[in-house]
Subunit: 324 residues, 4 copies
Amino acid sequence: MAKGFKKRIKQENTQNSGFGSRASGRFINKDGLPNVRRRGVNVLNSLSWYHTMLNLSSFRFITYLVVMYILINLVFALIYYLIGVEHLTGIDKSDPMNEFIDVFFFSSQTFTTVGYGRIAPVGFLASLIATFEAFLGLLTFAIATGLFYGRFSRPRAYLKFSDVAVIAPFQDASALMFRLAPYKNNALTDADVTLSTAIEINEGDNNLKTNFYRLETQLSKINTLALNWTVVHKIDENSPFYGFTGDDFKNINIEIIIHVRAFDEVFSNTVVQRSSYVSREIIYGAKFVPMYYPDNDKDSTVLDLDKINDYEKAEIPVFDNEKA
Amino acid sequence: MAKGFKKRIKQENTQNSGFGSRASGRFINKDGLPNVRRRGVNVLNSLSWYHTMLNLSSFRFITYLVVMYILINLVFALIYYLIGVEHLTGIDKSDPMNEFIDVFFFSSQTFTTVGYGRIAPVGFLASLIATFEAFLGLLTFAIATGLFYGRFSRPRAYLKFSDVAVIAPFQDASALMFRLAPYKNNALTDADVTLSTAIEINEGDNNLKTNFYRLETQLSKINTLALNWTVVHKIDENSPFYGFTGDDFKNINIEIIIHVRAFDEVFSNTVVQRSSYVSREIIYGAKFVPMYYPDNDKDSTVLDLDKINDYEKAEIPVFDNEKA
Amino acid sequence: MAKGFKKRIKQENTQNSGFGSRASGRFINKDGLPNVRRRGVNVLNSLSWYHTMLNLSSFRFITYLVVMYILINLVFALIYYLIGVEHLTGIDKSDPMNEFIDVFFFSSQTFTTVGYGRIAPVGFLASLIATFEAFLGLLTFAIATGLFYGRFSRPRAYLKFSDVAVIAPFQDASALMFRLAPYKNNALTDADVTLSTAIEINEGDNNLKTNFYRLETQLSKINTLALNWTVVHKIDENSPFYGFTGDDFKNINIEIIIHVRAFDEVFSNTVVQRSSYVSREIIYGAKFVPMYYPDNDKDSTVLDLDKINDYEKAEIPVFDNEKA
Amino acid sequence: MAKGFKKRIKQENTQNSGFGSRASGRFINKDGLPNVRRRGVNVLNSLSWYHTMLNLSSFRFITYLVVMYILINLVFALIYYLIGVEHLTGIDKSDPMNEFIDVFFFSSQTFTTVGYGRIAPVGFLASLIATFEAFLGLLTFAIATGLFYGRFSRPRAYLKFSDVAVIAPFQDASALMFRLAPYKNNALTDADVTLSTAIEINEGDNNLKTNFYRLETQLSKINTLALNWTVVHKIDENSPFYGFTGDDFKNINIEIIIHVRAFDEVFSNTVVQRSSYVSREIIYGAKFVPMYYPDNDKDSTVLDLDKINDYEKAEIPVFDNEKA
């Protein structure tokens, strides 16, 4: 990160960001997770496997399941093979390879509880293993059922944020703005947003320190989150950005941290989403263009999500920067 | 929508409706979902398939499951058929049709893991496909289990709203009233209601604009929602409807937006339900007749849900309209 | 219910009980459900079958499952029988009864997907029916899985209330008291209680009307609900019971409505429980005896749930009754 | 427990701890559960089996499942054996032991619905029992599915507390401090902490009594709980510990009760965790050393969980103790 900021900010920095002044780098990643690495706890302990399974992409999740299925069957096939194929009826004993193939399929037919019976256990040991493989199979699918349900019932906000925030003219001054919109057929109500910012301050002698400030918004709650929501932080005397020039926004390390909370009426659950903008994602002197409009028949409203990043140049009144 | 309203309303319009003044048409549909269409996101991305599955009617949900079941079996039947029926034992090889029928049923017996074994795979390829079909079958039913649970455990309020709202005489003035009642054997407590209204204003030169106002209610919370609840918004100086005549209610585009929230004691979860009334659903000069009464033995109370829409004519005092 | 009460109560009655003054009988049953019957909605619509399934006793729930299992198998057995046993292999065709028994067991082996294969379908029609029976079987167990999970994961408070409430001497006056205690190994914190009362008032001319009052409690929140909690409503000038004599408590129709809410740390969910006391369940002039004590080693506390109803006679100071 | 404390504490003790002054021993165990034993309710009634199943260790849970599986199969094997092995096809009748082994495996193949069919029921009675065993098997795995899901979807905070609390110099006085940190890949936000303390007071004549006090913290809420959180209770005039010397902290029975609450963004659920420190776990005159630092590239922050218990000696200013 570059050189810090020396000007004095009148606002007191908040202590409850959860990050200390010695923390470094981006605090909240674009996907909303904190940019923190943990050390000193063994791997098994540091992962909640359920949280991990819930966060996997669908593709990787399915791949894991398939790989596990094959591995388990290989292990059991090996066990049956070592016990001896004579404990199984219906095995093709023409050569060892065919034997192994048949015990592998016997294993899968047992694990999935299909049990055609063309191949079936006759001896004690093979029967015993099969008894446990079928049991393990059912427990495995019990767990898979839970994971599937956990994955798709997991409450999520499904909000799209604009790629950038802008500093736009607002009332007689300027304001930091970004916007967000729901992009799925969930029904969000009672949405609220909390904004804070981390600003790197140069305390002299190359001594960099990060301060945290809460940012006031013009409107922190809305009733129905069905159209886009342009969140507005007015840059007035109460803003830590008061007096910042376009260059300041470019050169000082700033991070805007966003926390949105809403009520999903389908799940009857509170959903949250976080995101952040850093200096390079803030455009000075721009304003968003509208992204919703009445439809042709004027009997409903259309939200055009492709326009979420559309902005145009907008002059920031000069007196605002001079005054500081 | 028709011509707007010119009179001045003293109340400030609220900014946090989530709908802008350029939005058009009904805002909240009768079923509580916002009347907004999304554009610019590809279909796959714009649907949360889980939300979609939860919102399907039971009939369509079951139909989808059955159709998918048949399709999957047809696909696998085709695969087994192409591999060659000689890799399956017990197939009726009298003619190609019978062969296909038998591989279709073999597929279904594998997918459901019934696995009678009358037809069973013997070759490597057919066994391999069957191995994966059984696996797929179990995962499919794992997902179905989650969907069923998601569907019936989904918290819902089960509230019936009166079809119309009425403007009834109330105290020394008038009030907007509608009523709602629980119609299922769920146990709702701590219910609260939030009312707001959208009024289309004519700003001159055919320039229509929609303003939003919050409506105060006489009682916004009740402890036990077991009988009907008549929600009352008194039309006094603090109401945006102050001074409205019966004609105004007919001619101006008005929408009453209702948001009910309660606690379901069986699910231990908050449930919500929204609805709305537009101009044509508001009856001027009417009042509801009671819909509950003591039972014959006087030892419990009876709620007659068929009466929820019963109202009678009621004169609105004239002075109320004159004063404005 | 008997004659009403004529004395004037200074407190204003609350409007938000959810019960009107014309409601009759006990309002909240001992088990916490409102004493209201619904009329005018057809049966199918008035029951949430999921709520119903969750409220069944374990015994009845299991019985329903078993009966349904037998019925479904009988129906399918009949269908297979009508199609003709020649479409199934392995049937004992010695006589029609044996035939029916075998198709019944074939049906159950298909529905549960056991599919031994001793009996197996060969014709098109029987195979088709079996295909759907296996599918139905899996969906049925998918639903059963959801019901089981819904039943045992349903958050409940597991609180035991004392059978009676008492009017006990308290400070320089008297107080209404009852107590409650958790009786299971759940961990409740942040418990709060809300008390209200319904009092039947005689407005003259045998005109009975029920008024509702909120009752203040000495302590409405506690941090950890691990021992018993004696809820105390002091009968002072702010109580609707101010000036009530022992006879008043006996003769006037009173109902105390209790609403307890706590946080279950195992489920991480809010749980609620309601109950009520009517006149005949209120003992005038009694106080509870302690029900917890240090254990012998003085290193933990013992809660004796058998003592929850133990009270002893206690004189109510006379001046309290005189003053009114 | 040792002798009580005689000095007068100015603060009023709180009544809402949920523990009375006659309760004894540690109130909250280290794992957060209250140290209370229940008596007088029969065992079946006093355990919520679902809570019990959720609290078992994974190892014990799996062991229970396996043991139950074996027991059920033994019971059914016995039943089939008593009915007579002639009602089953494919049994090895060489000797009774082999017969029993075969019926045992038939039972397990039925219970898991594998149903190879090598052994299959032919008589009415054996078929009937098998019909119910398969049904029971499916219900059992339905329940197991629910238990697995309940176990791993159970919201938990996954917080590590420092083993000890310290009394450290703070501002111009001293403070009680301990720290906590998340150790798993869950994402906690909006964390808050509630501190209270139980102090044993000597009321004279060896009459010990426990008083409860709420402890104020410097910061009771933080936005993102990603790094460690050092909770600080300043010991000033408003603290019940005001004037305590190092010896007091050693000799008086003190218990610090901690209640942390946070929002888990993956589960979208509130999670809680409790813990406590007793006198012997409080170090007088020590302060924690930092446990997080910027990583080498300065682009993220590292949290070293192994350092959570690292503290160093720190002099408590004397005037603080004198003043009291």
